[in-house]
Each structure stands twice: as C-alpha cells, then as structure tokens.
C-alpha cells in the first residue's frame, strides 16, 4: 500500500492515460457505427482518388455531425491522420464535449472570437499541417441554417492556403445531413447521406483573396448539383 503523503511530489500523469485513449477509440468506433446506421453514408470520389496525401478537405457546414460523415467515408489509414478544425467555444464548454472533441476526434480547436482570443487559429492549423495531419475545415465559419446552399467563406482558408501552398485543397460536399438533424432537433432521422469529393485546388500565383475564395466557393457549390444525381 503506497503512502500518498510521503515521498517527493509525483510528476503529473501523462495528458491522456491509456484508459482514456482506449475509451476514446471505443467511443469513436461507436460514433462511426451510429453514423453508418443512420445515414448509410457513402463517399463519392469524383475529382480526387482516396489517396494518402496531405489535404485540406473544405466542406459545407450544416450540422454538428458534418465532420463525422467526412471521417466515416475516409479510408481508415487516412482517417487517423485527418483532424477536424472546430470551434473551441463549442467543444470546450463541457467535459463530455471536450472528451469527444479532443480525445475522440483529435480536433484542432480554434478560438473563433476575434476580440477575446489568445491563440492564432491560422497558426494552429498550420502547425497541425506541419505535424503531418490533414484537416477538415468548414470555411463558412459557422453552421449554415439559411436556405442558401452556402454562406460566404471566411478568409481563413485563403490565409492557410497561402501559407502552405503544397497542401491540396479538396472541396467536400456533405449532402442531406441537414435533414437528418435540423437545428433544434435532438432525434436524428435516418436518411441516406453522401459525401462528394471534388478536384483539388491550389492557390494560383498572385491570386487575390477574393478571386481565390470565389473559386473555392464555386468548386464546392458545383458538387452540390452533382450530389442530386446518384
């Protein structure tokens, strides 16, 4: 029986003890199974192959489950290297969300509030890329609850693309998930969803911010039309 009070003060345990990692994997698998059960989600690789290269998947955002679907259709080897970018203001507000956001999905948590933030979102994303991760990014910045198919993109995608030009930017259209769980509902309706990946973009030499963001928006929107024809 160890005497807790005696001896030198212990070093703090590693940030993610084994049990927690194990639990995170179990929960991750459970979430994926549930996503498949509800949505029978299928990935359509229209413009890129499911190759193991470093990418930023930029997707439309209508539901909290969006990145789960993208994650679910990625081949397992790529899935482990792909981190969603999510708002710290949402995912750090309770112990459960923190566990799901950080441990299960290994999200890059960024602070969206320009005034109050203490860390640089673009810097955090660039750092994750430098560590070899791929990213799932929602350039609309927030969930789209309007009737418009897309909200205007924030400039984050542009800044990140300019800083890490070698990374492929893959437009990723998530179809139907907004009907599965509209904002304010808590029971998901089983409906078939698809995730369509379009041809990769790279920033052109001297391309202006607005031209680049327009091009990215158009690339993503063009997939939404295809999504309707199976």
């Amino acid at each position: 029986m160890a005497d807790v009070s005696a001896g030198p003060t212990e070093t703090p345990p590693p940030a993610r003890p084994r049990q927690q990692r194990f639990l995170a994997r179990v929960v991750g698998t459970g979430v994926l199974l549930f996503a498949h059960f509800i949505t029978a989600v299928r990935g359509k690789w229209d413009g890129v192959a499911p190759d193991d290269e470093q990418r930023i998947y930029f997707a439309n955002h209508a539901s909290h489950g969006d990145f789960v679907l993208v994650w679910a259709v990625l081949p397992p080897r790529m899935r482990r290297k792909t981190r969603p970018v999510a708002g710290a203001d949402y995912w750090l507000t309770s112990a459960l969300r923190r566990f799901i956001g950080r441990d299960v999905f290994n999200a890059v948590l960024i602070e969206r509030d320009r005034v109050a933030r203490t860390s640089d979102p673009i810097g955090l994303m660039a750092q994750a890329l430098d560590e070899g991760a791929s990213l799932i990014l929602f350039p609309e910045g927030t969930r789209n609850v309007t009737d418009a198919p897309l909200l205007p993109f924030k400039s984050g995608l542009y800044h990140l693309a300019r800083m890490r030009r070698h990374v492929s930017l893959v437009p990723t259209w998530i179809d139907n998930l907004n009907r599965v769980m509209p904002k304010g509902e808590f029971v998901p309706i089983p409906l078939i969803c698809t995730v369509t990946f379009g041809a990769a973009l790279h920033m052109g030499e001297g391309e202006s911010k607005q031209a680049f963001l327009d091009r990215a928006e158009a690339a993503l929107l063009s997939l939404s039309v295809k999504a309707d024809t199976p």
């Binding site: 029978a40 299928r42 009907r179 509902e185 029971v187 309706i189 089983p190 409906l191 078939i192 199976p230």
Partner: protein
C-alpha cells in the same frame, strides 16, 4: 430451439448450387469478354452475382434462425427501405417528429406485433392508427406548406416499407393443418418465386425483348421478357410445390399471382423513381442499387400471398 426443417436445408443447398454455377459462368464470361473489366454488362452481371451470394447467405441464416431470425431480418429490411424512401420525399423540418415516430415507434411496434402474433392489431396498426396519428403529430408542428403531400408521402412510405414488408415474417404465424413447423418454407417459396421471376424477366428480355410495355417508366421491361419470365417462374413455382402445403396446380396459380404483383410492384416503384429523377433507390447492394430496388416486387406480392394463403389454407 427447434431444428430448421430439412426441406429448408435442401432448398438453401440448391440455391447455393445455382449460385455456384452462375459464378462459374460469370467468371468464364469475364475471362472471355471482359478481361480488362471494360464490358459494363458483364461487370454488372458479376457484381449482381456476388451480391446474390451475400443476400442468399444472409436470408438463409435468417430463415435458419427461425422466428426471431426472420422477424429481425425483415425489420432491418423495413428500416433500410424506409430510410431510402424518406430520403427521396419532400419532407421538411415540420415532419421531424412524425418521421422520428415512423422510424423509432411505428416500425418496431409493427414487428413486435408480428412477433407476438397479434393478427387483429398488426393488420390494422399502420392503416388505421399510424394513418390517423402521423398527420396529428405533423399538424402540431404548425407547418402547413404542402401539408397533404407531406403526410401522404410519409403514410405511403410506411405502408410500402413497413406494412407490406412485415407480411413476409407474418407468414410464420399462419396455422396450416399438416404444415406445422414448416412455415418458414412459405417465405422461401415467396422470395424464390419473386426473385427468380425478376432474374428470368431480365434474361428473357435480353434474349427476345422487342415490344416495350411501359417505355416511359421502365425502358428495359418488355412484353416478351415479362411473359417469358412470368411463365417460367410460374413453372418453377409449380415445381416447388413439394416444399409448400399447395398442390402443383395451386402452387402454380399462387406463383403466377406473386409474379404478376411483383411485376407491377416494380413498375409502380419505377414510376416513383422516375418522378424523383433517380435511377436507383440507394447504393447499399453493389450492382443492384438499394434495398428497395431488390425488394420492390416482394413488397407488392407479400400481402396478397399472405392473405390468399390465410384465407384458403389456414385455420383461424
């Protein structure tokens, strides 16, 4: 647990034998005509044969699993079918509660009623109770846009995907003198006749098809294909009378009814797909499309086959 009837084992072994032959033929065709995978028809044929292996094995396991196996299997088929159907409807957020109710209450309750064999309730649960309850729930949400269309779509989806499908496992509850313990073979008979008919209509159509029956709905359906498929499937049904409580003539008549209902079921479901602008209901079964693409003809024939058998052969 009782052992599955020997006839069932024989039927399943026969089906696996047929599939083995089909696979060998498919392989030979592929070697000869599509070595580089470029012949679309051959590749689709082989996709279909592979999917048939999975379907026959799953179905066989379900039938061997007896009452629980069959009920759970068809409950899952209903779920997958309803998921495909609702995906193509124009439901809105105002239907959210009604839809949640359809998937998570009406569907399980219907199969529970089948499980406990309460004929008086499962025969009217969806046509009466769900029919009245769903629009009430939808109305409470207050969204009146296209209200009638939306509630009609949900009710139709429930009737087709849950009510009709549930008549397949309901065959287990029929009490037919001299046939006790072998009801699972009625399911095998129904499913084999329907599916063989689909396959043979396809084959006859490819061989002799000239005159289109419904060019607008389903360009691949021809009079020659239908007649050839229906008659040969009817003959096969007669040949399967040993596994049923029917005489060869009765089995032929029932098989014919099943085949005709199945054919028109396929036509109706094609009309819906046409209207929605899609080719397949889903993507879960490689080469076939969705669950509904494979189930459409079973759905239309199951309730009719159930009631004919119940009326003439079962004791109340």
């Amino acid at each position: 647990m009782t052992l599955p009837p020997l006839d069932l084992v024989a039927v399943l072994a026969g089906l696996l034998g047929v599939l083995a032959v089909a696979s060998v033929i498919g392989y030979a065709l592929q070697r000869r005509l599509s070595a580089d995978g470029s012949n679309v028809v051959i590749e689709n044929l082989n996709d279909r044969i592979r999917a048939w292996w999975v379907m026959v094995i799953l179905m066989g396991l379900a039938l061997m699993g007896g009452r629980i196996g069959v009920t759970v299997f068809f409950a899952f088929c209903s779920f997958a079918a309803l998921r495909e159907f609702i995906t193509l409807t124009d439901t809105r957020q105002g239907d959210h509660w009604a839809l949640a109710l359809a998937f998570f209450v009406v569907l399980p309750v219907q199969y529970y009623l089948i499980w406990i064999d309460w004929y008086g309730l499962y025969a009217i649960f969806i046509p009466v109770y769900a029919f009245l309850l769903m629009p009430i729930v939808a109305a409470l949400r207050g969204d009146t846009d296209h209200f009638l269309v939306r509630i009609a779509e949900v009710q139709w989806a429930l009737m087709i995907c849950v009510f009709c499908t549930s008549h397949v496992p309901a065959l287990l509850s029929l009490d037919i003198p001299g046939f006790a313990g072998r009801n699972v073979l009625l399911i095998a008979f129904l499913v084999i006749v329907v599916q063989i008919s689909d396959v043979l209509q396809y084959v006859w159509g490819k061989l002799l098809g000239r005159t289109r029956i419904a060019p607008k709905l389903s360009p691949s359906k021809t009079v020659e294909g239908f007649l050839g498929g229906a008659l040969s499937a009817t003959a096969i049904g007669a040949g399967l009378s040993w596994m049923t409580p029917f005489s060869p003539l009765e089995a032929a008549l029932l098989a014919f009814v099943i085949v005709v209902m199945g054919f028109f079921g396929g036509l109706v479901m094609s009309a819906i797909k046409r209207d929605r602008g899609v080719k397949d209901w889903g993507h879960l079964i490689a080469g076939h499309g969705g669950f509904l693409d494979r189930l459409d003809s079973v759905l239309f024939s199951a309730p009719i086959f159930f009631h004919l058998t119940r009326f003439w052969w079962s004791v109340p």
